[in-house]
Amino acid sequence: MRYLTIALTKGRLAEKTLALFEKAGITSGGADDKDTRKLVFTNEEMGVRFFMAKGPDVPTYVAYGAADIGIVGRDTILEEGRKLYEVLDLGYGACRMCICGPESARQMLASGDLFRVATKYPNIAKDYFLNRKHQTVEIIKMSGSIELAPIVGLSEVICDIVETGTTLRENGLTVLEEVCKISARVVVNQVSMKMYSDRISQLINGLKEALEA
């Protein structure tokens, strides 16, 4: 039997996902051990392998078929825009993609002025401003600590994930607009879905039941 390969997003998402797989009766062969330096974990009897990857790489692994299934946040799916089947909403990892900034920036968002948007998600930001709000903006791609940008004057607003809003509040920023809701999703390679249709459907139904239980 060929292995069914599952790519997990490193970090908290992986922990929750492994717990869910466990609940669905699929053990991960030691992937939940935090001290291990192994890269790939195999459950021989079920013919399933797991590996951890950086979020943005998960859709890439799946699109190319190196992984058959991936667990990844919707933010990453939207940003990467890969050809994938998005088959299950896991519900956890829930947060919102928002446009944030100081309260004073609210007025500017409504105006036709050219302003700057700092973000880790240039594609999502571009789609939101161009296609949904029909606004021309200057998008600046950043790789972390996005909140800093409006504080030091790099940009007027940011487009980022908001979970509790604590970081924003502590830095005098606020949510100005909501772009979309985010949660963890199961994505499947388009060929795998056909070639391993039974096994993948079974796995997804197992996860669904474990979610509802």
Binding site: R2, A63, Y64, G65, K83, L84, Y85, E86, V87, L88, D89, V188, N189, Q190, V191, M193, K194, M195, S197, S201
Partner: protein, 334 residues
């Protein structure tokens, strides 16, 4: 030696030589023999066509993915992204409507300026056939059987031809009374098998319950022959029943000729080429993240070029196929 960017090929284009060139030529010859056996004759069309042949009302590759340039009179020209509209144009131009059907096979490079494609090749070799002037289910089955034989001849042992019917979605969309942009959103989500996305969207739509239910179910309507019966449960109009009936007929013909084991069904298979009108399919195998062949029925396409003729065809992505063969070979050796 002077390092010059002009001495390597532009991104998305490549040289082919030695063993690889030899292996590819052999593959093409083998496939060509299958075409002859089925009675198909060569047609060659130019790599360059007027933009309108691939324009948005024909419904093919998006305009921003076409290689475009101008002729001396200022007309917009494109490098063909796909053969079917070219062949349809040629048939409408040169062939008599009285001697149908025509069985035509083509082979040549196609050009799509997009990063989205695997292998990252913007120039890809395609080989395929068009069966023009035959609206029957037998014609659909012939193309499906030919596809199976081509893949077998290429050396694939395990592959699947996943078959759907665009009319099922189309009939439901008509019945629903939804606006065009809403339907487009549903189409996109359905072809990504994002059924929770569809159900989220349906919650906000004004359409009868059974129609919304059918839309939500569609991304999950794929698998073996049992899917046909499952699809019947959600059929809300005659058009939808006819779409399923057509697939059952095709399924029966395939079984009769001993090809049933290669066929699966997928009602969520919707092409981004809008010219497809009925049966539609994609062929998959291990070792490649994308389909190795795609095809379907396009009964209204020839109308764009002034000839009213039903047609069905298939195109093989040779580079994708070669890559799958290589990977499968590599796998069995390791």
């Amino acid at each position: 030696m002077k390092r010059n960017r002009m001495i390597h090929t532009p991104e998305g284009f490549r040289d082919l030589y030695g063993d690889e060139a030899r292996a590819r030529r052999k593959l093409l010859q083998d496939l060509d023999e299958v075409f002859r056996r089925y009675g198909y004759e060569d047609i060659e069309t130019p790599a360059v066509e007027y933009f309108d042949v691939f324009g948005s009302d024909v419904g093919t590759t998006p305009s921003n993915e076409l290689y475009k340039f101008f002729d001396r009179d200022g007309n917009t020209l494109v490098l063909r992204p796909d053969f079917t509209p070219s062949v349809a144009r040629a048939v409408a131009m040169h062939f008599s409507p009285d001697a149908m059907p025509y069985r035509l096979s083509y082979k040549g490079n196609t050009y799509v300026n997009s990063q989205e494609y695997q292998l990252n090749l913007k120039e890809q070799l395609q080989m395929g056939v068009e069966l023009i002037g035959d609206a029957s289910a037998e014609a659909d089955a012939e193309i499906l059987m030919l596809t199976c034989d081509l893949l077998k001849t290429a050396g694939l042992k395990e592959f699947q031809v996943s078959c759907g019917n665009n009319d099922y979605f189309r009939a439901l969309a008509e019945e629903s009374g939804l606006a065009e942009d809403e339907i487009e959103a549903v189409r996109q989500l359905t072809s990504n098998k994002n059924f929770f996305g569809v159900s989220e969207l349906m919650e906000g739509m004004r359409a009868p319950d059974r129609i919304r239910e059918a839309f939500v179910k569609m991304p999950q309507l794929f698998g073996g022959e049992e899917v046909l019966a499952e699809a019947e449960k959600y059929a809300a109009s005659d058009g939808m029943h006819r779409a399923i009936g057509r697939l059952s007929t095709i399924s029966g013909l395939m079984a009769k000729h001993g090809y049933a084991q290669y066929l699966t069904y997928d009602f969520g298979l919707l092409s981004k080429y809008h010219y497809y009108t009925g049966m539609i399919f994609s062929a998959y195998t291990y070792g490649t993240g994308d389909a190795v062949a795609k095809g379907g029925r396009y009964d209204t396409l020839l109308m764009h070029f002034g000839m009213d003729a039903p047609a069905v065809g298939v195109g093989l992505y040779i580079d994708q196929l070669r890559s799958a063969l290589l990977r499968q070979g590599a796998r069995s050796e390791s």
